[in-house]
Every structure is written in C-alpha cells, then in structure tokens.
Subunit: 331 residues, 2 copies
DNA sequence: CTGTTAGCGCTTTCAA
DNA sequence: TTGAAAGCGCTAACAG
C-alpha cells in the first residue's frame, strides 16, 4: 500500500540515468553498460517499480488484450472455446476480455464497438445474420469470426456443420431408421447448415424429415419439447438434436415418459460436450472440437495482429462420436 | 477504416470550443449553452468521434475492468460463477478480464500481480493456502476472495461447505447408510471443510468413514477411481464425492462395472452442476449456488471500489438437492 | 551506449 | 458557462 506508485522518473533519478534509458531497459529493447544495468536493476527492485501498462498502451496503441464474445458462457461448447482461446492467448502474452451476450443481440453492436477500443483484436461468435454484420468490417481492429461467411471479408473459423449433419444422418439411415426428426434451433445461423446436411442425406434416400424448433439451445428446452415429439401419433424412430444440451434434456424426459432410448428412439446431438459421455445411454454426437476451434481462432487472430497473411476461412473437420444412444433397428 | 481516429482536439476545433469543454460534455460532467451543446453533438457525430478509453484510464486511474481468476473455466461451477459475476459487472458498466489458472498455481502470483495493474479490482479463486497468500494484501487494488480466511484481512465470499457436508452426511445417515466413504480432493482448500462436516456428523453417530483422494476434481478422476472403491472387499454403501463432476464420472463407471446406483451404493456430490439432474439416476447434491456466489462477489467488489463499507465474510447458505442417486436401505 | 525532446489523448484545476 | 495550461507515465525518434 504505497502512497504513490514509483514512476519511470523515480527509477531514472535513483539510477542516475534518463527515463529513455529506463524505458529501453525494462522493455529489453537494448543492452547497456554493466554499470548502468546494475544501477537500474537495483533501483527498480528497491523502489518496487512496476511499469504502468496503461501509459504504455496509450502510446504504443497495444493493450495485449483480446476480446472474446460468446453467446452463453455456461454452455460447455463455449466454455471449451474460451479454454482453447485463452490458453493460446496466455502463451503469447495476451489476456482475454470476455463478453457474454447471453443470447440477447440487442446491445451486441454497442458492446463490441466499445470493446474494440480496449483490445488489440477480437473473436466473435454471434447470432447475427450476415447482412446485419456489415459494421464489423468497419471496426478498426483485427477480428476473427466463428462461422462461415459468404460476403463479408472477415477471417473466420468454422466447423463443417453441413458435413457433420450429413454424417450423422447417414449413420442413422444406415442403421435402418426410417422416421427421422430434427429438433432444431432456427435462431442459430448454424441451424440451416445442419438442416441442409440432414436434408441432403435424407432426400437422397427418399426419407421424410419432421422438424421441430426450439426457443433456446438448452437442457430445459430439450426437456420441454420431448413430450410433443414422443407422444404424438407419428413418433420418430430417431431424433437429431441441434446440440447436446437439448439432446440430454430430451433423453431425461423421454425416460420419465417411459420411452426408452435407444430402444424406442435413437437420439443424437452436436458439440460433444463432456457430459454426453456420462449419461445413460451415452450420447452419440458430432464432435465439433470446440477447444480446438477456440485455439485456432486465437492463433489466427494473433497472426493477423502480427501482420501475417491468413486464410479467409479455416475449417475444422467434425468427427462422429458413436455411442449408445443410437441403435440399429429393422435390421 | 479511417486514417487516424479523431481526437478530442478535432472535435474541439470542429465545434469551435476548447478541449476542456468537449471533455466535460462527453462525460456529462457539466451542462453547456444550447448553442455549444448542439455544435458539440454535431461535431461528434459527423466526425464519428469515440473517446479513447486508454487515455482516459491513464489519467483517471480507472479502467472499468475487473479481473476474475478461476481454476478451470470448463468446470460448470466456475462457468456459473463467471456468469453471475459478469452479469453484475456489465450491469454496472464493467467488463471482466478472465484468468484461468488451469489448476496450476505456479505462475499465479505473477499473473495476478500483472493483472492488478490493468484492472480496478479483482476476484480470486485459488488453491493457495492462506499462508501463501499474504502478498495478496499488498496488492494495491480492491480484491475479493472466494473461500473463508482466518488471518488475512481480505473481503471474502464463501459457501458454507462444512454445513453442506454435514447436511449431506446427515441425510445419508438417516436413510440408514452405515458404511460411508468420501472421495475427496485434498489439494483443494474446501476439501478439509467438507471432510470436517462429514466427520462431525459421522463421529456423532459412531459411524466410520473411509477416505479416498483424487488427483483432480474431474469426471475422468471419478471414473478412474471407481473400480478401486467399488470392487474392494469392503464396498461402502454410500459415497460422498468432492464434487459433481467426480460423482458423475464415478456413476458412469459403476454402471459399467455392474454396480447399481443407488441400489448397491448411494452417490452424492457438491456444486449442483446442471448435468447432475440429467443423468440416470439423477444426482443428489449440495447446491452451492455458484452463479449467486459470482454475482455476490462482484457486488461486493464493486462496493469496495465505490468506497462503501462491506462485511469481511459473506456466507452463502448451501442447499440440499435430493435426487434419485440416494436410496433408503436397511429401513 | 545514453540523453533530449516531444508528445500519445485525455482530464483537471484554476481563471476568466 | 467556457478556456488555458499543465500534466498522467510512458515511448520514440533523433542527437550526441
């Protein structure tokens, strides 16, 4: 609890050198005579001097901070993205400033515009449609976006949701499922991609698809919508859920309703959150490699910041995780 | 992509006033004549002026940023804490700079000391023992700590782990369990408190307690240790796990091993992570109210920052969540 | 190798 | 109600 923290001038005075020398010394920008370096070292430690990062940032224009905006940090998909991104950032001397938009895009633009003034770059996961995002290109800071973009010239990192969905559908089809349903979440930009992959597969096989739509990508929504899917006259024999959270909620409620998974109905999801492996039955899902996506986005952003050239789109291949929630039938 | 962002001086020139006037105007520190305010408003919007927060921070010494340090952001307990803390921070105009120590305390001190120079205050969750934490009181920034402290004069927010553990044990005891075991995590500072609560209950009833210790508070560890707990000659009839993650991992593996929960063995945990409700059987646990803890810690910190007096310790009462993983026996 | 000199963009007395 | 002036703590040419 010092009265006033020592400044670079105090150090300069104590070591009998100029502030420029102190500055260069602490930044390792230059070597000095042993005598000077010794004086500097002792002055710094005896004063307990710490360089003020704010002053430094103001002049260099760099904050060593990256903004990361996600939709809901309690969703394991996003926690993992954050984990991966944060690890890479830390390794390279950066910190992460988090924005959790909590699925409410109203203040998103303001929030991100403000954020952009305090960071060296940002990584954004958003529900906005591409045409609502033009302002992002105006932001005068490097930015990496999660998801693929057709128009906007922004570097992106995306999972291949179309092919992940195709794989999942193909898998269900080959196991003999005939009445497949999709419990989607149309507010998401990835919903269409997943739906596209499912349709491509089922259309080719001449199989019908029933679609349900959730209001939120959550455990509670999967639970809530279960009865209407499972207790109708046309119960599907397989359900593809928009994500694992919904799948887990659905499976629990199905159990309560006396519908056995996978005996009566197969269930699959997306994301490969850790918990899907620990339910009974364990959930078959598409691993989107969340942590790796976060790490890749951060690597890409830091490359942009360093001025290195980067691909516009980095795709991360999804991977099917076969588990017990899926069962062969009519074989 | 402007060449150079407009500064307060550009605005002053465009509006024909001094920079001091612009400064006061944008900060709402003072009202001006309608003529001046109009000129200011139009100059600001036509130039697209944005106040540079770095310059402002340097001079005011406030960054409107709070540092939050947690042990593992993919653990739902911490995601929820972050959620609660972030929400409160945002509501009051603050952002959260996240530190994920990833259960490795080696660089923790350095990281936090550096962090302290970039934020207005910080909230810390740490595995450090109290005597290793004295340096925290030297940090010249408000700080709120998670967990109770006996010596250090730091404001804290803590769950009452002792009483939570007591409740849990009492519950098991009243259901007739006789051979209770604890799968703990001794690296954690809360492990002792939980163990204390368990012991207080069991000792009073003259019941023995077997203790196992995990290397990490994770799903994988619960899974790994299951066999040695369950396949020994003295299988317990109830297991209290350090947290829900371990409990879920344990339950899954128990199933694989042919041990039925709760028929053969009751299992309970701590935290009340959302996923415990969606397994079969659903997990009985102690709700530590993670999100509320995060929110409370942030409220407390912001109060300290505003200079308001705060209690040293805020305790959040834990709550027992009864679910199917526990069963009456020998009744 | 080391120092001098200008500021970065903003806030803040203090005067007018 | 408005402005002049003095920096915040630091870096970045440029000189020597």
């Amino acid at each position: 609890m010092k009265k006033t923290a020592p400044t670079i001038r105090d150090v300069a005075a104590a070591a009998q050198v100029s502030t420029a020398t102190v500055s260069k010394y602490i930044n390792g920008a230059q070597r000095f005579s042993p005598k000077v370096e010794a004086a500097l070292a002792s002055a710094i430690s005896s004063l307990g001097y710490k360089s003020n990062p704010l002053a430094k940032s103001m002049i260099t224009g760099r904050t060593n901070t990256i903004g990361l905006s996600v939709l809901d940090i309690t969703n394991p998909h996003f926690s993992s993205i954050l984990k991966g991104a944060n690890r890479v950032a830390n390794d390279q001397g950066y910190s992460v400033l988090l924005v959790d938009t909590e699925e409410t895009p109203s203040r998103e633009r303001r929030t991100l515009e403000d954020l952009s003034l305090r960071v060296d770059g940002m990584i954004v996961f958003s529900r906005m449609r591409e045409h609502e995002m033009a302002w992002m290109t105006e932001i005068d800071k490097p930015l990496v976006f999660f998801g693929s973009l057709s128009e906007l010239p922004l570097p992106t990192v995306a999972s291949d949701d179309h092919s992940g969905a195709f794989m999942l559908s193909q898998h269900l089809r080959m196991l003999g499922h005939k009445r497949i349903a999709y419990l989607g979440f149309s507010k998401s930009r990835r919903d269409e991609e997943r739906l596209g992959g499912i349709r491509e597969c089922l259309d080719a096989a001449g199989l019908p698809l029933t679609i349900y739509d959730a209001d939120a990508p959550s455990l509670a929504e999967g639970e809530r919508l279960c009865a209407s899917i499972v207790l109708g006259s046309e119960r599907p024999d397989a359900l593809i859920c928009y994500n694992d959270l919904m799948a887990l909620g659905f499976m629990k409620e199905a159990e309560n309703l006396g519908v056995a998974v996978p005996h009566d109905l197969s269930v699959v999801g997306f994301d490969n959150i850790p918990y899907g492996k620990y339910t009974t039955p364990a959930l078959t899902t598409v691993d989107l490699q969340s942590e790796r996506m976060g790490a890749t986005a951060m690597e890409k952003l830091l490359a942009v910041i360093r001025g290195e050239p980067v691909e516009k789109l980095t795709r991360i291949a999804p991977q099917l995780m076969l588990r017990a929630s899926t069962m062969a039938r009519r074989a």
